[in-house]
Symmetry: C2
Subunit: 688 residues, 2 copies
C-alpha cells in the first residue's frame, strides 16, 4: 500500500544517534499506572502501540534508585538488576513490531516521598517534599551528587541490557533532579552547581556526558527538557533561560524532546486549552538551534497538522502521549489513508487520573486501553460473531453507541434505538456545556463508523416500553438507558431527602443541559458530586449572571479534578468569575428564599439567600424498562450497561458497552472463572 503523498514525509526514517526510527511517530514517555507493579500489562500496552505503527515507543518515568520511590504510584523501576527481566518484556514487545524502545530514566528528588523505601529524599537545597507529608529533602553534598551520577550511569547500563534503544536524561514536569538543579527557585546552592545558569546546568551536562559515555555506542541519548514553566518571569521562560539551555547543550543529546512544565501545563485538557499543538509556540525555537532531531508534543492528532510541522521544519518527530492512548493505531491509519477512522483524543485526562489514583491507565475514547494483556483486547480487532444473531441496543449514549458499534463489527445485526431526537445521550448533552465541546468526539467517532455499516439500523425519537421491545422479536437486548440526576438532595454527604423549601426552585444538571436555566434571583449550586459537573455548571452560569454561590461539603471545588490536573484551574476560574464558594458545608435544609448550610465539622448553621438551587448530587439509574422486561422474561440476553448499570464517567460507560459486546455469546462461566490475568508477586524460596 502506498501512503498518501501528503503524509509521506511522516513515514520517513529518522536517524537518532546510533539508532534509526522507522518513521516520525514518536510515543513520548507517559505514565500509565502499570510500571513495576504490572509489567506484563505495561508491555502489552506499549507493544500494542508498536503494532499500531509508532516508530518509537517509550516507557513512563523509570525510577533509577530507591531514593526516588514513587510508591504507591506504579511507574517504571530500574533500581538494580532485579528489574531487568520485567523491562525486557516491554522492549521485546516493542521490538517485535520494528519500533525503537525508549526509557525515561528518572530521579524524582524532592518529588519522591520514598514511602516504601524510607530513604531520605534529595534536592539541590533543603526543602519540604513536593507532597503534603511532613518530611524534607536534604541538600545534596558533593558525595551525594557523585552517587547520583553513578546511579544514573548504572541505570543507563541496565537499560541497555534490558534492550532499550533510547535512554533519556529527564529534566521536566518539575519532577526530576536535573530540572530541580536548573530552576533558581529550587536551587539556592553556593557551589559550582548553583548560581549561574552554567552552574545550574552542570548536573545535566554531566549526566548527558556520562550517559553517552556509558551507552552512547549502542543507544541514543535523549534529553527531555521543559523549556518553559508557563509562569512568566516567576519561572523558566522559553525566551530566556529555556532558550539559553538549548543553545548551551545544542549538539549534546542525540535527540531533543521538548515540552512545557509542570504536568498540568504539559497535559492540558480541552476544557482549558482547546487548541491542538498548544505547546508549539513555546517549543518550536528549538529546531533552529540544533542539528539533532527534535520531538515535540501538545495533543497532536491531526495528520495535516503533523505533516505541516514536518514540512515547515518545526519538528522532526511527532510526539504524542494522549493521542497514542486514544488511538494506538494512529500511524497505521494514516499510512492506510484511513484518517476518518482515527479515534481522536478528547483531552479529558482520564488517562492521567487513573495514574494519579494509583490504578492502571484507561481512556474515554479507547476502552481497550490498559486491557491489552489483561483481557487480550485489541483496539482494532474483535472476535467475529460466534453464530448469527440479532441484538437490540436501547439508548444511543456512550455505552449504547460503543456496544452497538462493537456488536456490528462482530457481524451481528444490530438495532439501536433512542428516545431522543439526536443520538449521543449524555455525551451530546454534556459536550454542549462550557469547555466540554471536544467530548462530542466520543459520539461523533462512533456514529461515523456505525453509519458506514450495513448491519446497523438506528432509530431516533423512539422511546420503547417493554411491549414495544418484545414486539421487535429481538432476543438479545442491551439496555443503555442511562441515569438522571436526583432532585432530592440525596448524595454522598446525606442520604435523607431534603426537606422544606417552598420558595426555592430546584434544578438539576439535566435541567441545565436541557435548557431550563434558573430564573431571576441568586443561585446556589450544591456540589456533592465533587467531580467536574458542579464546577462546569458554575462556570457556565457565571457567564450569564453574577449571583452564584457554589456550596460543597468538600474543602475545594471539584476535588476529584485534581486527578485530571484541572482543580486549580477550575477554582481559579470560578473565583475570577465572581462565584462565591462555600466549602466544607452541606445543604441541611431548604428555607423560604434561602438554604440552610451546616458546617461539615461542627454542624454550625448558616443561611444563604437564594431563589434557585441546582442539586449536583447523585444520579438515579433508569431501570424501569429493565425491570419490566426482566419480569416478562423470554429474552435470551437482557443486560444493563453504562450509567443504567453504574453511574460513572463517560469512560466507564464506553467501557461497559465495549465489555458487553466483547462477551456477548461468550461462555458466561469462563468470563467469571478467570476474571482476567493478574500480576502477582513471585514467591521464590530465596528472596530476590
Amino acid at each position: 500500500m502506498t501512503v498518501n503523498a501528503r503524509y509521506a514525509a511522516l513515514f520517513e526514517p529518522v536517524r537518532i544517534g546510533p539508532v534509526t526510527a522507522k518513521n516520525r511517530f514518536y510515543q513520548v514517555p507517559h505514565c500509565n499506572g502499570m510500571g513495576h507493579l504490572r509489567p506484563r500489562a505495561e508491555a502489552g500496552m506499549r507493544g500494542m502501540k508498536a503494532a499500531g505503527g509508532w516508530g518509537v515507543v517509550s516507557t513512563q518515568e523509570t525510577e533509577i534508585h530507591p531514593s526516588s520511590d514513587l510508591t504507591p504510584y506504579a511507574e517504571g523501576r530500574i533500581w538494580d538488576a532485579r528489574d531487568i527481566p520485567a523491562l525486557r518484556v516491554m522492549t521485546g514487545a516493542v521490538h517485535e513490531h520494528g519500533a525503537l524502545a525508549a526509557v525515561q530514566l528518572a530521579h524524582n528528588g524532592f518529588h519522591a516521598s520514598n514511602i516504601l523505601t524510607r530513604t531520605p529524599a534529595l534536592a539541590p537545597s533543603d526543602m519540604a517534599l513536593d507532597f503534603a507529608v511532613p518530611a524534607q529533602a536534604r541538600a545534596m553534598d558533593k558525595a551525594d551528587i557523585r552517587a547520583f551520577r553513578r546511579w544514573h550511569r548504572d541505570a543507563a547500563l541496565r537499560a541497555r541490557e534490558a534492550g532499550f534503544d533510547i535512554v533519556y536524561v529527564y529534566a521536566g514536569h518539575r519532577m526530576t533532579l536535573p530540572q530541580h538543579f536548573l530552576l533558581p527557585a529550587l536551587n539556592a546552592r553556593g557551589d559550582e552547581y548553583g548560581g549561574s545558569l552554567e552552574n545550574r546546568l552542570r548536573l545535566t551536562r554531566e549526566l548527558l556526558e556520562e550517559t553517552h559515555e556509558a551507552v552512547g555506542g549502542d543507544c541514543a541519548v535523549a534529553f527531555r527538557f521543559a523549556v518553559d514553566e508557563m509562569a512568566g518571569p516567576d519561572g523558566m521562560q522559553a525566551a530566556e533561560e529555556g532558550r539559553a539551555v538549548v543553545e548551551m547543550l545544542a549538539e549534546m543529546p542525540d535527540l531533543w524532546d521538548v515540552n512545557v512544565s509542570d504536568w498540568s501545563n504539559d497535559s492540558q485538557t480541552t476544557r482549558f486549552q482547546p487548541e491542538d499543538g498548544y505547546q508549539l509556540a513555546y517549543t518550536d525555537f528549538v529546531k533552529g538551534l540544533t542539528t539533532k532531531p527534535v520531538v515535540g508534543v501538545g495533543r497532536l492528532s491531526s495528520p495535516d497538522q503533523m505533516a505541516a510541522l514536518v514540512a515547515k521544519g518545526r519538528l522532526d518527530l511527532i510526539g504524542a502521549a494522549r493521542p497514542s492512548i486514544a488511538d494506538p493505531f494512529l500511524p497505521a491509519k494514516i499510512a492506510a489513508d484511513r484518517i476518518e477512522a482515527i479515534r481522536e483524543c478528547i483531552g479529558c485526562n482520564i488517562c492521567v487520573a487513573a495514574d494519579n489514583l494509583g490504578g492502571p491507565i484507561r481512556c474515554t475514547q479507547n476502552p481497550t486501553m490498559g486491557e491489552e494483556w489483561r483481557r487480550g483486547w485489541h483496539p482494532e480487532e474483535i472476535a467475529p460473531k460466534a453464530a448469527a444473531a440479532a441484538a437490540l441496543v436501547v439508548g444511543a449514549g456512550p455505552a449504547g453507541l460503543e456496544c452497538a458499534l462493537q456488536l456490528a463489527r462482530r457481524g451481528y445485526d444490530v438495532t439501536l434505538a433512542d428516545a431522543a431526537p439526536e443520538p449521543g445521550g449524555r455525551v451530546a448533552r454534556e459536550s454542549a456545556l462550557k469547555g466540554l465541546g471536544a467530548w462530542r468526539r466520543v459520539a461523533d467517532n462512533r456514529l461515523y463508523d456505525l453509519r458506514q455499516r450495513g448491519n446497523v439500523e438506528m432509530y431516533l425519537n423512539s422511546p420503547l416500553d417493554a411491549a414495544a421491545v418484545l414486539e421487535l422479536g429481538i432476543a438479545n437486548v442491551f439496555l443503555a438507558t442511562g441515569a438522571r440526576w436526583r432532585r432530592d438532595g440525596v448524595g454522598r454527604t446525606c442520604r435523607a431527602p431534603l426537606t422544606g423549601g417552598g420558595g426555592v426552585a430546584i434544578l438539576t444538571p439535566d435541567d441545565i443541559m436541557e435548557g431550563r436555566l434558573p430564573g431571576a434571583g441568586p443561585v446556589v449550586i450544591y456540589d456533592d458530586d465533587q467531580a467536574y459537573m458542579g464546577g462546569v455548571i458554575a462556570d457556565l452560569l457565571a457567564t450569564l449572571r453574577d449571583d452564584i454561590t457554589l456550596v460543597t461539603p468538600a474543602p475545594v471545588v471539584s476535588p476529584w479534578c485534581a486527578h485530571t490536573l484541572e482543580q486549580g484551574r477550575i477554582q481559579t476560574a470560578l473565583l475570577e468569575a465572581g462565584v462565591r464558594i462555600e466549602a466544607n458545608a452541606r445543604l441541611a435544609a431548604l428555607g423560604e428564599g434561602r438554604v440552610d448550610l451546616a458546617c461539615v465539622y461542627t454542624g454550625a448553621r448558616r443561611q444563604v439567600d437564594c431563589a434557585s438551587v441546582v442539586l449536583v448530587t447523585e444520579r438515579a439509574r433508569e431501570t424501569a424498562l429493565y425491570e419490566a422486561l426482566r419480569d416478562e422474561g423470554g429474552l435470551s440476553v437482557l443486560e444493563v450497561i453504562g450509567d443504567a448499570q453504574m453511574p460513572g464517567l463517560i469512560a466507564d460507560a464506553v467501557y461497559s458497552g465495549h465489555r458487553a459486546a466483547r462477551y456477548f455469546q461468550a461462555d458466561p462461566g469462563a468470563a467469571e472463572a478467570a476474571l482476567y490475568r493478574r500480576e502477582i508477586p513471585s514467591l521464590p524460596e530465596e528472596g530476590r
Copy 2:
C-alpha cells in the same frame, strides 16, 4: 519459667469453636500496607508477632472478590486460587510459633473504588462510592446477593486451604457489606433484606451459617462486629440495635470480635483519646449475652488492665492491633515478667498513616516494624558487635536515643551527650504540647533501658563543638543534632524569605515549646507544614486566648492528619475553640501590625491584623558540628542521623537512629548493593 501469678490467667488456653488458642493474646485484624503486594513482608511481620507470643495472629481485611478491589491500598486478597500460595506463606509463619492464623474476609461494597478491576461496586441501595470519585455503587438485586454469598463461601474454602484456623465474617468500620446492610442509613431496601433489624441482619446471618457449613468443621467462624458508631442516635448504638444484634446472633459465631465504628473511632489517637481501653464501655455488655469467647480492643497495653478484664469477665481474649505493633513481644515479656521492657504504643497512628498512604506499615516506637522480612530486623535481637569499639552519639532526641540504645545492645561502649539539661530532644519538647503527652514514652522507654546498661554514659548540659568531640578520642561519631523551625517563612509554598513586618513579632514552634508565647494582640499561626504541628499550636494557644487565626495554603487544617484519622477532629476542635481559619492562603508579606495573605488560586490579597505570627513552615537541619568535623577529618565514622539528616516525623528519626546502629561496622557496599529484599511480580510464560 513460671508466669507471674497475677498474669497467669492471660496464658490460659481458650477454645474457639474447633480450634484452641494457646493463650488470651489476640492480634485482631489490622491493615499494614503489605498484603497482596508484599506477601512475604506480611508473613514476616505476622510471623514475628507469633514469635512474640500472640496466641492468635490475624491478617488484615482480605478482599474476597474483584468487585471489592481496594487498589492502590495494599490489603489482603483472596479472589481465587491464585492467591492461596501467598497466604500460605503467612499461615506457615504464624503456625511455626504455635499461634492460630485468622483471616478477615471482606467485601467492601461501596467502600471499594475498583480502580484496578473496573467492576461495578455493590451496595444495599444505590449510592455514591465512599471515595471522592465520580462513580456509584448499585443496589444489589437478589442475584447479586446470591453471588456475594457464594463468593464469601468460596473465599472461606480457599482460606481453609491456605491454612487459616479462624475465618471472619466482618461487619465493621463502616467498610463492609454485612454492616452496610445492617445500618438503616445505608439500607433503603424494601425487600426481606431491608426494613426491620431482622431483615437488615439477614445477610450477616446467612454468611455466618454458610461459613460454618463450609469450613466450620475445621475452622472457627469469628464475627467482627462494630456495636456502636459513636454518633448517638444518628448511628447504631450499643444500647439499642448494637445490643439487639448480639442478642439475636448470640451463639452463632464461635467468637465475637467487637469494637466501635468507623475506623477513626476504633483507632483513636492519644491526642484525642488518652484513655487506654476506651472501647470497653461500648463493648463489655457482649460477654453477658453469649457463652462464646469475646475479644475486645481499645489500645490495651497494660498487663494489669488485661488481667483485670479477664478476671472480671469483661473479655475472654485481649485484642490488640496497635499495642502488638509497638511491641510484637508483649505477651512474651509478660510471660517473662519483664513488664518494664514493654514498648508501649503511643497512640500516634503513624501505622495507620502508612497504610493510608499506600506504603508498608511503620511504628514510632518499634522501628523494626515492617522490616522483619525486608531487612531481617528483629525487634528484640540485634547482631552483637563485630569488634570492640567506642561510639559517641551527640544528641539525645529520638534518633540519638535509639542509636545509642541499639549500639549499647550490640555491646559497644557508648557515650551519649546532649546540650540540654533533660534528654529527649524533640520528644521531650513536643510531648509537653497539648494532647501529645503519650509521645513522651518514646524517650522514657529508651532512657529506662539505657540506664540499666553498664556500657553507656550519658552527659546532659553538654554542648559539644568539634574540638570537644575530637578531644574525647572516640573514633565513631553519630550526630543526632536535630533541626530547628525556620524563622524566615521559607516553606513548601514559597521559597523566598518573607519581607516587611517591623511591627509583627515572629515566633516559631521552637519558641512556643520553649515557653516563649506570643504577647498581647491577635496571633496568626501560619501553617505551611500541613502536618500536625500547626494545629497543635493553635489548639494550645486557643486555650489561653481568643484572638487566633490559623492561615494555611492547604484547603483544610492539618491535611496530612487525614492519614492518622485525626483531621476531622482537629478542625472541629479548632472551630469550636473559636480559632478563625483562613485556608487556601499563603503568607505573602508582613506588614505593620498585620500580615498580607494571597489566595493560592487567584493571588488576590487580603490583610489580617495581628501582633504576632507563629511560622510553622520548614525546619533547618543543625549541621554545623557535622561540617566542622567533616572538615577536620580523622574519624572512622561520622554519620548524621535523625532530623539533622532529614527533618521528618519522630518515627523517621527513631528509624534513622536504629538503622545507623544496625549497619555500624557492616560492610558499606553490602548494605547498598542489595538494598533489601523486594517483592516483584512474577513473569511466568503463562499468565496466572
